[in-house]
Symmetry: C2
Subunit: 353 residues, 2 copies
């Protein structure tokens, strides 16, 4: 490995916000999460894309990282059930070799300045792909304007992960506008947001209860394959808001490996089994059997049943519940749910090279 | 959630093999891992596919789980750098809606009886896809013969995860035979196996050293995006051979979320940073900065530099090192590296429904 001069992170540290700051930040994050259904409504009403949608697509690549990329992961899973071309995700500087003139590349970066996403969009442009950009500003929207890419502007001023109410709706709207699916319209999505708003108190209570049960545990999040994006959202929100490490896996895949590792599992772990009534019946059976086994290793195995009359409602229910859980875990641990100083410092350090 | 009658796992338990059995099983697993380079040579020489390769492909889906599916994950990453159509993986009963007459579906199941893979292959057949099957026997090969699918037979008698020396080569050979890439031939692959064989003592020493340093820690495995499949292989082997829980993530993605969670990281974790000299330079820089940060939370941050003159050599070096690490962790913990009783019991229980 060639040494990289001056790359030591001697200056990078995990900064802990003082209690006074934490209290203010609890209020701020609470307001952001509580506003999630309203953000969805606004995003549905704002759906406007500048530029012309590509035709004759053979595949789609959604490129983006972190809180801006998770929408792509979830959208790809939603579309895998209904779309006639592969919708893949990309979370890197490079792009796959198959990107060409028949590819729609959607670049998602809330700030518009994520270096990986800018690099990937640039390469996709060189490969002749049709490009669409979703951002609140930054270089990505500027380049979109210069290059004549399709683009959608998100409202400014959010921490990227908290703009998810806007981000996923905008992405789904863009993919629908590109003709990739047509079984969801604005009315359906407004209804999803309405249901979420009406059940918010119940969701908060459930989240508070889960946080209590998870006290001093490492969360291990499981879901069926088609809901992996939701499990990843939970993982990310717990990482960023509650400053905790945790991990996830999916069924049935983990039945072929991680389940064996549970022989070494113990009470330090808290299992979160995310379930949806339309999970494959064999996967649902696996979940029952798995939870019984895990209960022999830890007394904290929590079953979370998604509530909703459609898959989209259940998906958003789980996303919102996970957001609230991460908030209550932050309150429990008395850590500032807003600050991600270490990412900012890392970016500053990277910018020096 | 509808209750599923009789699905209680009251009878399912984690069985611990007695010391005498463990000793025999250490020898058996040691022999299997030591034979990995020879398995590769044999697989290269045996590359024979029955049936006609499809033409006019627009996309590829490799479906398979656990030790049979990891080859697909790694092959998809290898091909993403060189193949003109998307190569996707699938680890579920269902298949994506885009599978059609222009899709090559490769079904991988070492036993040939994995229920998820059989279900997926059946659905792919209904969707009109061209299907290829890789198995040592079972229903998958029988169906391939009946239906006239392309097929390749793996040698029998291995634990599925230990047949990986055969599995990945066979899969790569099949994908090359289907015209998906052409920059690797048998001579190149034999050379990779030769290098692995020659450096096996060094690799074993490195693995032994890593296992010692990881004692009583939860391994956390990191790699660059394009080597995620290798990180997953490490995770699976540690799960199954050493009966330990562990997790993985990739850079740069984890810099946008999990790194923040490291504020809550501690000495119980042992970081394994898998590196390759052709990692993107920005990702390499991120790895340096990340390791410095993680060292503030735990004194066990281990850097593993892949050795090899080509990417394929480095990839196989890492796979082999991970296999040996999982073996030495099993010896350290005095657990039977062969048994996966809980998976067998789970399958028996599932078969009752």
């Amino acid at each position: 490995m060639p040494s990289i001069r001056g790359s030591s992170a001697a200056g990078l540290i995990f900064v802990i916000s003082p209690p006074k700051i934490c209290c203010k930040m609890f209020e701020y994050m609470e307001k952001l999460i509580a506003g999630f259904p309203q953000d969805m409504h606004q995003a549905i009403d704002r759906l406007r894309f500048i530029g012309v949608m590509p035709t004759d697509m053979q595949n789609v690549l959604i490129t983006g990282l972190g809180g801006s990329g998770i929408g792509g992961t979830i959208a790809a899973e939603v579309l895998a059930r209904r779309c006639s071309v592969p919708v893949c995700v990309n979370k890197d500087y490079g792009i796959p070799a198959w990107v060409n003139t028949h590819t729609l590349v959607v670049a998602c970066s809330y700030s518009g300045n994520t270096e990986e996403t800018l690099a990937a969009a640039h390469k996709a442009n060189e490969a002749g792909a049709s490009i669409a950009a979703i951002a609140s500003g930054g270089q990505l929207l500027a380049t979109a304007e210069t290059e004549g890419w399709v683009s959608a502007k998100l409202p400014e001023g959010y921490p990227p992960r908290a703009a998810f109410g806007h981000g996923l709706i905008t992405l789904l709207g863009l993919l629908q506008g590109a003709g990739l699916y047509n079984d969801w319209d604005a009315t359906d999505l407004h209804r999803v947001a309405d249901v979420l708003e009406q059940s918010q108190e119940t969701i908060r209570n459930t989240a508070r209860d889960l946080a209590e049960k998870l006290q001093n545990r490492t969360p291990v999040i499981y879901a069926a394959t088609g809901l992996e994006g939701v499990a990843v959202r939970w993982r990310q929100q717990i990482n960023e808001n509650a400053k905790m490490l945790c991990w996830h896996h999916v069924l049935p895949e983990m039945n072929h490996n991680e389940l064996v590792g549970w022989a070494g599992g113990d009470k330090r772990m808290g299992v979160l089994m995310l379930r949806s009534e339309d999970d494959h019946p064999r996967t649902a059976l696996r979940m029952n059997l798995n939870m019984d086994l895990m209960r022999k290793q830890t007394d904290c195995v929590l079953e979370i049943n998604a509530i909703g009359t459609s898959r989209m409602e259940r998906l958003y229910y789980l996303v919102h519940l996970g957001d609230w859980l991460s908030y209550y875990l932050a309150v429990q641990r008395q850590v500032d749910p807003i600050e991600v100083n270490v990412i900012t410092e890392l970016k500053n350090e990277l910018a020096r090279h």
